[in-house]
């Protein structure tokens, strides 16, 4: 058997392993935070995931919350955006409806999401990641894949050591903890980061990988959602081991292109590269109402606020997009989305709003809605954004008005100047939950 390699995550030294059993404490600093694995100094693909990120940021900013169950989520009708580890003890989970979460944990401290704050903290985390490698592929605001291949000499240590130092720096500089999954491909790195949380470091090596995966449920494979999971169960496939017994061609014949992934992932194979380019695919924002709404006039103020929110973030990221999507969820939880392609890509709140509003007019038919969302997709750099339009000279003037308003807000704050169409008390109270969607948005 190959001997264990051990790393101390506090003093970043490699205590020698005298036998197959790794030491319990670091001989140098006495820390128990040791990570051991025979391939520890050879693996270089990592997934780093911050622990209960939104809640951690709030606890960082208000230490009185440290030992309390904290839930980040909006309003009486919203869902849980994040729950701290204390709240999780009571069974609170992300995406759980708020009323259920509060039933499980009535004494939880509920905080409305402050996306701007989380985005700022997320950007700090990402900057620290980029300090160690340019190959950072963000999956969401608080998690990313990192490829550290070939950085040993640059950082004077194996990727594992660089990663341990990196999470140390994230704790020190950003004030939140993160967990590391380390392996030889993206699929396994993501699996690993989930297996030791919070503040964890889990390693999956190539040796006996099939055995490692065999007993795990097929739902752990990225791309196996509820529907496919049910299909697989019906076909008698419950574990990854069940997949390992099947031929790749057979799986493709049965399930289409996902079959190939099922086959390869089940053997621990994943050839996807860490791609720093595939950052953001869409920018969207949505809000759930306190009470269902059916009238167009009552929906419009929300639509405007969301359009502004999306526009703000496009502008901040120097992006624009060709397609505007309107999303509505009815009182009986059916989602509807409609989209329209523009003649030129936009980042203007005014154009996003006008396009979404025309979609809204087609969609409103007396049904009651509980949620409305706006998104912009098919993104491009803002060099192409909102060119002058020969058929609409008014566009240029509206463009200038918006730019002027942006300038005032940058100086005096967000509510310093507003359009009449957004002025409705209830929309001001409710801050929309918004997300940046990377290529495969997990969570």
């Amino acid at each position: 058997m190959t001997s264990q390699r051990t790393l101390c995550r506090d003093c970043f030294t490699w205590p020698p392993s005298t036998s197959a059993a790794p030491p319990e404490r670091c001989p140098r600093c006495g820390s128990r935070r040791l990570v051991s694995h025979p391939e520890l100094d050879r693996l270089s693909i990592a997934h780093i995931d911050c622990d209960a990120f939104y809640a951690s940021v709030e606890k960082r900013d208000d230490p009185s919350l440290l030992d309390k169950p904290v839930i980040i989520g909006g309003g009486r009708r919203g869902v849980v955006s994040a729950a701290c580890y204390v709240a999780r003890i009571y069974g609170v989970r992300s995406a759980m409806p708020m009323f259920k979460a509060l039933a499980a944990c009535p004494h939880a401290v509920v905080i409305k999401p402050n996306m701007a704050k989380y985005a700022a903290a997320g950007a700090e985390v990402r900057a620290l990641m980029r300090d160690v490698t340019p190959l950072v592929e963000p999956l969401s605001i608080d998690e990313a894949f990192l490829d550290l291949s070939g950085t040993d000499r640059l950082h004077g240590g194996a990727p594992a050591e660089t990663l341990a130092r990196l999470t140390g720096r994230i704790e020190e500089k950003v004030g939140v903890t993160a967990s590391i999954g380390l392996s030889y491909n993206k699929f396994l790195a993501k699996v690993a980061s989930d297996l030791d949380k919070p503040r964890g470091f889990f390693v999956i090596g190539a040796n006996r990988i099939e055995q490692f995966l065999a007993d795990r449920p097929v739902s752990m494979i990225w791309g196996v959602g509820k529907a496919l999971y049910r299909t697989l169960l019906a076909d008698g496939i419950r574990t990854v081991g069940d997949l390992q017994g099947l031929d790749e061609r057979e799986l493709m014949r049965r399930y289409g292109s996902i079959g190939q992934r099922l086959a390869r992932f089940s053997h621990g194979q994943d050839s996807r590269a860490v791609e720093p380019g595939s950052v953001i695919k869409s920018v969207s924002s949505e809000t759930t109402f306190n009470d269902d709404i059916s009238a167009t006039d009552a929906l419009r103020p929300y639509l405007w606020r969301l359009s502004e929110e999306v526009s703000d973030r496009l502008k901040r990221k120097a992006l624009c997009g060709w397609v505007v999507t309107l999303k509505l969820k009815t009182a009986d939880f059916r989602s509807h989305s409609r989209q329209r392609r523009l003649s030129s890509p936009t980042q203007l709140a005014d154009r996003i709003y006008r396009t979404a509003d025309s979609l809204l007019e087609d969609a409103v038919d007396g049904r009651r809605f509980r949620l409305i969302g706006v998104g912009v997709t098919d993104l491009a750099g803002d060099r192409l954004a909102d060119p002058r339009d020969l058929a609409e000279p008014g566009l240029e003037r509206r463009h200038r008005v918006e730019t002027a308003m942006d300038a005032v807000r940058a100086k005096l704050g967000k509510t310093a100047i507003m359009k009449g169409r957004g002025l409705r008390v209830d929309t001001l109270k409710q801050s929309p939950s918004s997300r940046l969607h990377p290529e495969d948005d997990t969570d």
Partner: protein, 373 residues
């Protein structure tokens, strides 16, 4: 109804009408062609509710009558029949079927009563004038590439046809724009067109009219009202509804003071743009024009760092300028300028609209919005 007709004579009008019929129809009668036989003539009508085409063709009418049958099916049958064969169409009373017989082939198609068939044509339209086929073609070809496909701006989804004044001369003008480029063509106002309503002709009608022009050398009778337009050819008549909307005040966006003049042979220019644009991204398709005295340098680059440049000798004497355009739009315009003729670009700066004209044709004008490069 019972008629006999040569296959080729039937195929041609059927080809015209079946292209009007939408492939997917929720209203069954709209999938059908209306056949009417009387006085030695078979007339065929198809409609999509927005436009209809009526074709007439001589035939031997054994028994006058009318019926409707599925247009695409009838077209496919006739298309596949042996060339040179005689086709016999028979629909007896209320049988609900029409038989098609040619040689040893027999078909029977279900019919729908003609009373259900919607009528667009028939009424007379107040304004009427004559255009030569060549002029009608020019009006369409020089503008249709600029028609917008954006649903939200439905009023740009067609060609704006109207009467205007060029100096003191009354002209007939066709204009189309998608916001990125604008095409305007004009010709002396034909007799009878004075006082015509300004109309927007929808894209589908433009396409169908263009197909019909292709097969005629004679004159075209144009008649119109505020909401309908008709093009009458020798053996076909197309009537279309018009787009109910207001075309933007396009004259305001045509700059008049642009003084940086570039003259370049259009086909050579087009080929150079095409070559350089090969590496430009699918999304922006931008090319940069860098002008210095006597030389145009076309250049493009892609996000993954490919680069291309090409130099072209041109007539240019104004101050140096760099300006970017969508390469496809440049080529669309160059396509409309005859081989060997020169395109004249009148530019102001990198952010303002550029005017392009054809040196050998003072009736056409294009406006092109620059791109940031």
């Amino acid at each position: 109804m019972k008629i006999t007709i040569d296959r080729a004579a039937l195929l041609k009008p059927l080809a015209h009408v079946q292209s009007v019929v939408e492939r997917r129809n929720t209203i069954p009668i709209l999938a059908n062609v209306l056949l009417r036989a009387a006085d030695g003539t078979l007339s065929l009508t198809a409609t999509d509710m927005d436009l209809d085409v009526v074709e007439s063709v001589g035939c031997s009418v054994d028994q006058p009558g009318q019926t409707t049958v599925p247009a695409h099916t009838l077209y496919e049958i006739v298309r596949k029949l042996q060339d040179g064969s005689e086709v016999e169409l028979t629909a007896v009373g209320d049988s609900g079927r029409m038989t098609i017989r040619a040689g040893r082939s027999n078909f029977s198609l279900p019919t729908l009563p003609m009373e259900e068939f919607p009528a667009l044509s028939g009424d007379t339209l107040p304004t009427s004038f004559v255009l030569s086929a060549a002029d009608a073609k020019t009006l369409i070809d020089r503008t249709r590439f600029a028609i917008s496909t954006e649903e939200t701006r439905y009023y740009l989804n067609g060609i704006f046809l109207h009467e205007a004044k060029a100096g003191d001369v009354a002209v007939l003008r066709a204009v189309a724009t998608d916001g990125h480029r604008l095409a305007r063509v004009q010709m002396p106002l034909p007799t009878g067109a004075a006082g015509m309503p300004a109309v927007i002709v929808p894209r589908k009608a433009v396409q169908e009219i263009r197909k019909l022009i292709e097969e005629t050398d004679g004159d075209v009778q144009v008649s119109l009202s505020e909401n309908k337009l008709r093009f009458a050819f020798e053996s076909s008549v197309l009537t279309t509804k018009l787009i109910d909307g207001t075309f933007p005040d396009y004259e305001r966006v045509i700059p008049t003071g642009n003084d940086k003049m570039l003259r370049v042979e259009s086909s050579m220019f087009k080929r150079a743009v095409d070559r350089v644009a090969t590496i430009s991204t699918e999304k922006s398709r931008s090319v940069k024009l860098s002008l210095t005295s006597g030389t145009l340098t076309l250049s493009a680059n892609s996000p993954d760092n490919a680069q291309a440049t090409e130099e072209v000798d041109v007539d240019y004497a104004a101050a140096a300028i760099e300006i970017g355009f969508n390469s496809r739009y440049l080529m669309d315009i160059a396509d409309q300028i005859d081989e060997g003729s020169k395109a004249v670009f009148a530019m102001a700066d990198a952010a303002s609209p550029t005017v392009v004209t054809d040196e050998s044709d003072d009736g056409t004008l294009y406006v092109l919005m620059p791109m940031r490069v």
